[in-house]
Symmetry: D3
C-alpha cells in the first residue's frame, strides 16, 4: 500500500470529485450486504405481517431501490450516473436473528456502483429499523459490506 | 411483548404513516453511533490527511449533517419535522481500527429524532467508505445503533 | 364569484407564494381520490400478484406516501408544512375496471393539505401505470378530485 | 395476453427495477395528455390573468418541465435517464371547460420516456389546481393518458 | 468584534448545526437583492419576450420561489424551517443594464430567513443567466446582499 | 446580434427545454468564478479557523460540489447530465477582502456545463455567507461570472 493516496483529496488535502472523463464506459455490477439484528420477538412480528397483504420487507425494499437512485445526492464526492438495474432482497434469518439485506446495482458507466448498492442496503436497513422501533429500542444495523464488484479498471472484487 | 403490533402497518397489514396529530410538541433528543472498520494502513492515510487543510472526516461530517435533514425523504413512513440541532462527531480509533461516528439530533416536535441521528451516522459512514474505497475494498460499516433517546411519551432510552 | 381573484397572482399578475403568517395553526385534513382505468386482463395480473408476497399496490402505496412529503418541492406556490399522517389506500375495482386510490393527509398548520392528498393520489396512480405499462399501453389516470377537506378559515368541503 | 407477467415483479412477486443494461440506446419520444376540468368562471379568471404579465399557465408549465426531470425520484421502479427535451403546452379550452395539457419528452436511452411525459402532465395539472383552489373546490384532474410513443423494442404506440 | 467566534464551528473547529431549540418562535422577515448584469442588446431581447405570453422573468421568478423552499438542502448548516411567504420580483433596469431581483421571505420560526431570501435571489439570477447564455457569454451575477432583516434576538438589520 | 432570439422561449414566448437530441456528445469543460466580499475582521476569523481541524472553506467547498450535481433540479430549463468532475477552490484574499471561489465542471454530454460551474460557485458563496452571518450582516456575493468554456458547437469562450 506504499505510495497510495486517497484519490478524493487533492495535493492540498482538499476534497474533490475525481475526474473520470478519460475512463471508458463499461458494464459495472456491485453487490452489497448488511444486516439488521433484532430480538426474536420482533422478528416474529415481522413474519406475522407477511401473512397479510402488506409487510415491513416490501416497504424496506422499495425504500432501498429509491435510495440507490439518490446516492450521488447523499455522498458528496460520488459521481452521478444512470442505473440500469437495482435489486434489493430482504430475508428473515432466525440465525441472526434479524433481516439479511442483499442489494445489486448495475450500470454502464465510467465509475463503479458500489456506493449505490451500499446505499440501497443501509436505507433498507434504516426503514426496517423505523418500522420496528416502537417495539424494540435495541435493533442494530451491522455488517454492511461490499460482497462483489465487477467491471472497471481496478478489476473484480469478490469478498465472500 | 404480547399484544404488541407494528404501528406502521394497519389492520390489513398495509403500510401507513402513523397519525401523530394528537401528540404534544416536546423537546426530543437522540444520539446514535456507528463504526467504519478499516485496515490500519487506511486509517493511517486518513490521519495523514488531517495534517493538511482538508480531510476525509470533514467531508463525512458535512454529509451526515445534510443527510439528517433529508431523513423523511429517504425513509417512507418517517414524519417530516424541523431539526433544531444536528451534531456529528467522527474520531479515528486505533482500537477498532476505524472511524467511530456519533450523531446527535434535537428538535421540538410530535415524534422522536432517532431516525435522523441514525441517518446522519450511516451517511457519514458511507462517505468515509466512498473516500477510502480506492485503497481498501474490505471496509465495513457496522454496529449502527441508538445510544440515547429523550423526550416523548415512551420515555427515556439509554442503551449504553 | 364576482370580485374573486386568483390569490396566487399579485396585482401585476406575477406568481407569489401567499403570505399565511397571520393565519392560526389549526388541524387540517384532506381526502382525495382518483382512479387508474385498466383492461380487465391487466387487473387480473395485478390481482394475481396479490397472491404472492409483494405486489403492485404495495409499491404504489409507498410511492404515494413518499410523494405527499415532497408536495411543496413539486408545486411552485405550495407552502412547505409538516405532515402528521398520510394514509393511502388502493383497491382493485372490477366495476371500473381498475384501481381506486384514496389518500388522506393530516397536519396542524396554517394552510390546508389538499395538495398533499392529491399529490399522493397522482403519484400512486403513476406508479401503478409504470408497473403495468409493459402489458397495457392504454391505461388512463382519471377522476382525480378532492373529496373532503376540514379545518381552516374557508370551512369544511364535502364533495361526495 | 396469455403468458404475460408484470415485469416489475420478480418470480416471488417482489418489486424490482428491471435490468435494461443489454438494451441499446435509441431515440425515445413520448407524448402524454391530460385535463383539468374547471367551472367556466374559473376558466375566465385564468384567462383574465393572461392579459397581465404573469399567469397560471406559465407557472404550471415550468412546474411540469421541472417535475419531468425528477420522475425517477417519484416513481420507485423507474430508471433514471437523461432528458434531451421536455415540452409542456397548456391551452384553455371552453369546450371542456378547463385546461388541456400536452407534454412531450425526448431522450436517447435504454428505456422509454412515457413516465416523464405523464409526470409532466400530472404536476402541471396539480399546479393549475393549486392556483385555482381558493376559488373552486370542485376542479378535477382527468383523462391523463399516453398519446404517442416512439423508439425502443416494443415499437410505436399511437393511441389517438 | 473582539471575542467573537464563528458559531457554526465548535471548539475544535468542526462544523455544526447550531442548537436553536431554546430560542422562541418569532416572526422573521428578510429581504435580499441582487443583479444580473447584461448587455443592452440582451436586455432588449428579454423585454421583447415580455410582449408575448411567456417570458424570462416569469420562469426565473418561479425558480427563485422554488429554490427558497430548498435552502436547507443546499446549505449544509442551515436549519430546515417552514416558509409562510416567498415573494420574488424581477425588473428590467436600463441603468444597470440588467435585471434587478428582490426577494422577501417570511416565517415564524426560531431562526431567521436571510438564507432563504438570498437563495431565491441567486437561483433566479442563475435562471436568467441560463436563458440568455446562448446570446451572451459575459453576463454577470453580482451585488447579492441582505437588504433588511426583522425578528429574532439579534435585532433589526437595515442595510440600505 | 440581429436576428437572435432566446432559445429557451418558443415562438409563442413560452418556456421550453431546448431539444438537444441531435447534438453530439463531446467533452465539455466550464470554469466559473465569484467572490464573497467580507470585512477584514471576518476574514481574520475564517483564517483563524483554518488553524484548527475544520473550517469554513471546507464546508463551503463540499456544499458547492454537491450543488453542482443538483443544478438541473434548481434551474427550470437546464438539461440533466452526468458530471465527470467537479472541482471547487476557495481562497482567502486580503485584497478583496474576502473569499475568491473558482469552480470547474467537466462532462461528456450534448450540452455545456456552465450552469453547473456557476451553481457550484453561488452555493459555495451562500455557505460562506451563512457561516459568517452571525458576525457580519454586510457580506456581499458578487462578480459571479463564466471564465472559460470549452467543447460544443458554439466554440471556446475565454472571458479572462
Amino acid at each position: 500500500m506504499s505510495g497510495e493516496t486517497l484519490t478524493h483529496l487533492d495535493e492540498q488535502g482538499r476534497a474533490r470529485m475525481v475526474d473520470v472523463s478519460a475512463k471508458p464506459d463499461t458494464v459495472r455490477v456491485a453487490v452489497a450486504k448488511g444486516e439488521v439484528r433484532l430480538k426474536p420477538e420482533t422478528l416474529a412480528l415481522i413474519r406475522q405481517g407477511l401473512m397479510k397483504k402488506g409487510d415491513v420487507l416490501a416497504v424496506a425494499q422499495v425504500a432501498g431501490i429509491m435510495a440507490a437512485k439518490r446516492t450521488s445526492e447523499l455522498i458528496p464526492l460520488c459521481h452521478p450516473l444512470p442505473l440500469h438495474q437495482v435489486d434489493v432482497q430482504l430475508t428473515l434469518e432466525d440465525g441472526l436473528p434479524g433481516v439479511l439485506i442483499t442489494a445489486t446495482a448495475r450500470t454502464t458507466a465510467k465509475t463503479g456502483v458500489e456506493m449505490e448498492a451500499l446505499t440501497a442496503v443501509v436505507v433498507s436497513a434504516l426503514t426496517v429499523y423505523d418500522m420496528v422501533k416502537a417495539v424494540e429500542k435495541t435493533a442494530q444495523i451491522t455488517n454492511i459490506r461490499l460482497v462483489e464488484k465487477h467491471g472497471g479498471q481496478s478489476g473484480d472484487v469478490v469478498n465472500e
